[in-house]
C-alpha cells in the first residue's frame, strides 16, 4: 500500500520505518528522511530500519514523490497543529475523488478527528481513523511491532477493514483490538496523559514533603513502586516537566476540565509544576542566605529533557530568569540545546555560554543540574571539586548519590532528599 506519513513526532518515524519493512511504499512528507531531534534518533532500532527502507527504496521523501498521491495518510503532528492537519486533509479531499484512509495518530484533542472527518466525503469512502499514540520513548519500535492492545477510534466498517489489513503484520500474535468512537479514543488518550501528569505532580509534592520530613524520596519511590497498583512509571521526582507538547496537551485538558466542570485538579498540577521548575533556584537562594548577587553559577542542562535541542518551557528558563534578576553570573552548558537557549536570550553580560561542561563549572559558586543528559551522570568529581570555587551541587534530577557526594566534600541538594 502507498502511505504518506505527515509530521515529525516519534510515532510518525516509527510508523514509517515499521510499515516500510512490510512492503508498503512510504512517502515521508518533508525533505528530511531522518528525525531532527536526537531524542528520536536514539530510539533503539529506529535509524537502522529507516536506513534499510531508504536504501531499499520503500521510503522516499515528498520531494521525490507527490505526497497527495497516496491513498493512506498517517498523521503524526504536534499538539496545537490542528489547523495544519485540517489543511492537509482539506487538500486531500480536493484532489482525491475516491476512497481515502486517514490514520490520525496526533494529540490534537477531543473532537479533532471528527473535525478532520468533516473535511472528507464519506460517500466516497473517505474516512478518518484515530489511533492514540501510546508509544514510550526507548521501546517504541517493539511496542509498534508487538502491541498487546490497540485502541482504535473507528466509526466505519470499510475503514476498519482497511486499517486492520494495514496493521495485520503487527497484530498476528493475538493483539486485542478495542474499537470505539474516535471521540472516545481521543478522550482516553487525554485521560491517560492527565493521569501521568497527576502522578508527576504527586511525586513532586511528596518530594517537597520529604525535604521537610528528612527522608530520601528516591527510597520512598522504590518502595511505592513495589505495590502493583502503583507501579514504577512516571514517579521520578525532579524540577518540573517541560516541553511544549506535553505541557500544551495538559493545559488543554486542564482548561477543558476547569471550563466545563469547574475542576482545578490539573490546573493545580500545572501551577505547582511551574513553581517546581524554580526549585533549584530556591535551594541555592536558601543556601546563600537569600543573596546571590555577584555569585557565579554553573548550569548543566538547558533542554526540557535529554535528547532534545529545544528549551521550550524548560525549567532552565525559569531558573536562569531568577538568577539573572538576582544579579548572578550564569555559566551555561548543554550538549544540544545551547544554541536554542542563545536564540532565546541572545548575548547578555551575565550569561556565559560554554562549549564544555567543565568550562561552565570553572570558579563557580554552585552547579545546578537541570537536565539528565547521560554525559552528566558520572563526572570527574575530583576535577569538579578542584574547579569550583564552592563545591555546592543542586541536583534537579536526582542523578547523583548523596552519600558519595557528601563523602567527596560536596554540599549536595537533591529533590526530596534532605540535604547532605
Amino acid at each position: 500500500m502507498k502511505i504518506c506519513v505527515w509530521g515529525d513526532e516519534l510515532a510518525g518515524w516509527i510508523a514509517a520505518a515499521q510499515l516500510a519493512a512490510y512492503g508498503n511504499d512510504i512517502i515521508k512528507a518533508g525533505s528530511a528522511l531522518a528525525p531532527a531531534e536526537s531524542a528520536i534518533r536514539i530510539e533503539p532500532g529506529l535509524m537502522n530500519q529507516l536506513e534499510q527502507g531508504i536504501i531499499g527504496g520503500q521510503i522516499r521523501s515528498s520531494e521525490e514523490e507527490d505526497p497527495f498521491s497516496a491513498e493512506i495518510h498517517w498523521l503524526a503532528i504536534g499538539p496545537g497543529e490542528l489547523e495544519a492537519a485540517s489543511e492537509i486533509v482539506a487538500h486531500l479531499a480536493a484532489v482525491h475523488q475516491d476512497s481515502l484512509l486517514v490514520v490520525n495518530q496526533s494529540n490534537l484533542g477531543t473532537g479533532a478527528s471528527d473535525q478532520l472527518q468533516a473535511r472528507l466525503d464519506q460517500s466516497k469512502n473517505q474516512h478518518v481513523v484515530y489511533l492514540p499514540d501510546m508509544l514510550q520513548g526507548g521501546q517504541a519500535m517493539r511496542q509498534f511491532a508487538h502491541p498487546e492492545v490497540l485502541l482504535v477510534g473507528c466509526e466505519n466498517d470499510s475503514a476498519g477493514t482497511m486499517f486492520t489489513a494495514l496493521m495485520r503484520p503487527f497484530t498476528r500474535e493475538g493483539t486485542e483490538l478495542r474499537l470505539m468512537s474516535r471521540r472516545e479514543a481521543e478522550f482516553t488518550k487525554f485521560a491517560i496523559t492527565g493521569m501521568l501528569a497527576l502522578r508527576l505532580g504527586y511525586i513532586n509534592e511528596l518530594a517537597m514533603l520529604a525535604d521537610h520530613v528528612g527522608v530520601d524520596i528516591e527510597t520512598v519511590r522504590d518502595g511505592m513502586s513495589t505495590d502493583q497498583r502503583v507501579g514504577p512509571y512516571y514517579l521520578s521526582p525532579g524540577c518540573g516537566f517541560g516541553g511544549q507538547h506535553f505541557t500544551q496537551y495538559i493545559e488543554g485538558l486542564a482548561g477543558l476540565l476547569s471550563k466545563t466542570r469547574g475542576s482545578t485538579l490539573l490546573e493545580t498540577v500545572l501551577k505547582q509544576n511551574e513553581q517546581h521548575k524554580e526549585l533549584p533556584f530556591r535551594k541555592l537562594w536558601q543556601h546563600y542566605h537569600c543573596d546571590l548577587h555577584d555569585r557565579r553559577i554553573a548550569v548543566w542542562g538547558l533542554a526540557f529533557k535529554p535528547g532534545v535541542a529545544t528549551v521550550e518551557s524548560a525549567p532552565s528558563l525559569r531558573v536562569v530568569d531568577a538568577l539573572l534578576a538576582q544579579g548572578a553570573t550564569i555559566q551555561l552548558h548543554d550538549p544540544e540545546a545551547l544554541e536554542d537557549f542563545r536564540f532565546h536570550y541572545g548575548e547578555h553580560p551575565q550569561l556565559v555560554y560554554c562549549a564544555h561542561p567543565y568550562e561552565a563549572v570553572n570558579d563557580a559558586d554552585a552547579l545546578l543540574l537541570l537536565t539528565a543528559w547521560p554525559e552528566y551522570w558520572s563526572p570527574n568529581y575530583t576535577e569538579l571539586h578542584r574547579l569550583m570555587r564552592e563545591p555546592v551541587i543542586v541536583d534537579g534530577r536526582n542523578v547523583y548519590d548523596p552519600q558519595l557526594l557528601h563523602d567527596l566534600g560536596f554540599t549536595y541538594y537533591g529533590v526530596g532528599r534532605a540535604s547532605h
Partner: protein, 543 residues
C-alpha cells in the same frame, strides 16, 4: 472691591435668593447651559445649586478680592504656602511631566520626582515579573500596605476605584491595607497569609507614626518567627519603606535600596501622587499610575490658567462658600453612584476636614464665619437606604455632591450595563427630588398627599459627571477636590496644609500609656479620665 464689600453684596443676594425655591430657579430652561462647566471630559453641573449665574460673578469677585489668582501662582510655584510649618505644598509638582522644571531652594524638584518614579517603576517591574523573592526563594504574591491617614486612604481609595484596570502581570498579586493601631486588621490577615510570599510596604511620612510602627513590628516578628532567619535578611526581602525621613526608616531597619522617598513639601493627605502611591502602581501598573498623574496634571494646568469664572475647582469651591457662609448649610454629603468609589467619601473626609477644619486665620486672628462643614458620605444607592430619609424630610439643610460616570461595563454583558443604567437613573432621580421636592410631581397629586408624604425639596446639589471612570479621570476628580479645598482656604484666610489639631491627642495618648501600666502615676488627671482608668485597670487585673 475689597473682600468686605464683596461679602456685603453676597449677603444682599443671599437675602433675595433664600426665599426662592429651587423648583422656581429650575423653571428657567437656560439654566443648565448657564451653570454647567466642562474641562477635558469632566462636567461640573451646578444647576441644582440655590444661586443664579450672576451670583457666580459675585463669588468670583470675592475670589479676586482675596487675590486667589496670586495665591494659585504661589501654590504652584512653590512659595511657602504652608506658613505654620514654613514650607511649600507642591503636590502639583508630583504630577508635573518629565522635561519641565521647578526650582525650590535652588534645586530642580521635578528631577527628584521623576527619579523616584523611575525607582518605583523598577520595583513594580520586579514584582510584576515574579522576581521579587521572599526568604524561601518563592516569588512575592501578596503585598500588605501598612499606613494610616494619607498613607492609607489615598492608595486604598484609588486601588479600589481602579480595580478594573489591573494589567495581566498585576493579577497575580494580592493587595491588602492595614491601618488600625489596635492590630485588628493585621491579626486576621496574618493568620491567612503565607509569610514566605508576603511583602510589607511601610508608609509613613515621618516614620514615627505609632499606629504604623506598631503594626510593622508585629509583621516583622511574624516573619522572623516563620522563617527562623535573621531580622536583617527578613527586612531586606520583605519590607519596603516609603517616607520623607530616610534616617528614621534606616534606623528601623529598612535598607536604603528598599526605601522610596518623598519630601516634606508633600502633605500626607496630598501624597498619593508620590511614592506613597506605590500600592496603586502595583495594582494598575506604572502606565496606569502615570495616567492618574496625567489626569491630575490636566486639572493643575486648568486651575492655574483658566479664568476663575470657568475654573472647575474654583467654581466648586465658591459654590461651597455660598452654601456654608451665605445659606448657612453646614453638612456636606459625598454620594458616588459607582460602587468602585466606595472609599471616596472617607478620602474626601480627610482631604477637606483635615485641611480646612480650622478656626484661626493666617494672621493668627479668629475666623469670622464658618469654615469646613461636616462632611460624610456613602455609595449613593446604598445611602438611599440609610440616611437619605434625613436629606428628604429631616430638618438639616445638606449640600450633596453626586459623582457618576456616564458609561460603564461597555465591554461586558447586557445585565451589568442594565445595572449601571439603574444607578444612573437613581442618581438623576435623587438629585431631582432633592431639588424639586414633591414639585417633581404634578401639583394635584403633591398637595393631596398627607404631611408625612410631602417632600420639601430645595436641597442644593452638584453633579460631577465623568465620561468613564479611568485612571486619568480619577486623577482629574481628586485634583479638582484638592484645588477646591485650597481655594476655600484662600477665601477663609486659613492654612489648609497643617494639622496641629491632631497633635495634642497623640501626646496625651503617650502619657496615658504610662498611666495604664502604672496607675496613679501623675495624679493630675481629671476625674472623668481617672475614673475610667481605674475601672479599666480593675478589669484588666481580673484577667
Amino acid at each position: 472691591m475689597t473682600p468686605d464689600t464683596c461679602w456685603s453684596d453676597l449677603r444682599d443676594s443671599a437675602q433675595a435668593l433664600k426665599p426662592r425655591h429651587l423648583s422656581e430657579l429650575l423653571s428657567d430652561t437656560r439654566r443648565f447651559d448657564a451653570l454647567t462647566f466642562e474641562h477635558d471630559g469632566l462636567l461640573l453641573d451646578l444647576s441644582r445649586q440655590r444661586l443664579l449665574p450672576e451670583t457666580l460673578d459675585q463669588l468670583v469677585a470675592l475670589a479676586e478680592a482675596c487675590q486667589l489668582q496670586q495665591k494659585i501662582n504661589d501654590l504652584i510655584s512653590g512659595k511657602p504656602v504652608n506658613c505654620t510649618e514654613g514650607r511649600a505644598a507642591l503636590h502639583t509638582a508630583l504630577r508635573t511631566p518629565a522635561g519641565k522644571s521647578l526650582s525650590l531652594n535652588g534645586e530642580d524638584i521635578v528631577v527628584g520626582v521623576q527619579s523616584t518614579l523611575a525607582k518605583m517603576e523598577a520595583l513594580v517591574t520586579t514584582l510584576h515579573s515574579g522576581q521579587w523573592r521572599g526568604y524561601s526563594g518563592e516569588a512575592i504574591d501578596t503585598v500588605v500596605n501598612i499606613g494610616v491617614g494619607g498613607s492609607d486612604l489615598g492608595p486604598l481609595m484609588t486601588c479600589r476605584a481602579l480595580s478594573d484596570f489591573k494589567p495581566k502581570a498585576a493579577q497575580g498579586i494580592e493587595l491588602h491595607f492595614v491601618s488600625s493601631m489596635d492590630g485588628s486588621q493585621l491579626s486576621g490577615l496574618l493568620s491567612r497569609l503565607n509569610p514566605a510570599t508576603t511583602l510589607f510596604v511601610l508608609s509613613s511620612k515621618s516614620f514615627t507614626t505609632i499606629d504604623t510602627l506598631a503594626n510593622a513590628a508585629t509583621a516583622r516578628q511574624w516573619l522572623v518567627d516563620a522563617s527562623s532567619l535573621d531580622t536583617e535578611v527578613i527586612l531586606r526581602h520583605h519590607f519596603i519603606g516609603i517616607t520623607a525621613q530616610p534616617e528614621k526608616a534606616s534606623e528601623w531597619g529598612i535598607p536604603s535600596q528598599n526605601q522610596l522617598l518623598f519630601w516634606d513639601w508633600t502633605g500626607g493627605r496630598y501624597s498619593m501622587w508620590s511614592a506613597i502611591g506605590l500600592p496603586i502602581a502595583i495594582s494598575i501598573g506604572m502606565e496606569g499610575f502615570r495616567q492618574l498623574l496625567d489626569g491630575a496634571h490636566s486639572i493643575d494646568s486648568h486651575f492655574h490658567q483658566a479664568p476663575l469664572r470657568e475654573n472647575l475647582p474654583v467654581l466648586l469651591a465658591l459654590v461651597g462658600i455660598w452654601n456654608i457662609n451665605l445659606l448657612d448649610i453646614h453638612a456636606h454629603a459625598i454620594l458616588p453612584y459607582d460602587g468602585r468609589l466606595a472609599h471616596l467619601p472617607a478620602y474626601l473626609e480627610q482631604l477637606e476636614m483635615e485641611s480646612n477644619g480650622k478656626s484661626v486665620r493666617l494672621d493668627g486672628s479668629a475666623t469670622q464665619g464658618h469654615t469646613c462643614p461636616v462632611l460624610w458620605g456613602e455609595i449613593g444607592p446604598n445611602a438611599q437606604h440609610a440616611f437619605y430619609q434625613l436629606l428628604h424630610q429631616g430638618t438639616e439643610s445638606v449640600m450633596c455632591d453626586f459623582i457618576v460616570p456616564a458609561k460603564r461595563y461597555t465591554d461586558r454583558g447586557q445585565e451589568l450595563q442594565q445595572q449601571h443604567r439603574l444607578a444612573l437613573a437613581n442618581c438623576l432621580a435623587q438629585a431631582r427630588v432633592l431639588a424639586l421636592g414633591d414639585k417633581a410631581l404634578d401639583d394635584d397629586s403633591a398637595s393631596a398627599a398627607p404631611p408625612w408624604k410631602r417632600y420639601r425639596g430645595n436641597q442644593p446639589s452638584t453633579v460631577i459627571l465623568l465620561d468613564e471612570l479611568t485612571p486619568y479621570a480619577l486623577g482629574q476628580l481628586i485634583a479638582v477636590y484638592e484645588h477646591k479645598v485650597y481655594t476655600q482656604a484662600v477665601i477663609w484666610g486659613i492654612n489648609p496644609f497643617d494639622q496641629w489639631g491632631v497633635e495634642l491627642g497623640k501626646k496625651m495618648a503617650t502619657a496615658m500609656l504610662d498611666e495604664l501600666d502604672n496607675p496613679g502615676l501623675s495624679g493630675s488627671l481629671d476625674c472623668a479620665t481617672s475614673g475610667l482608668l481605674q475601672r479599666i485597670n480593675t478589669l484588666r487585673e481580673q484577667g
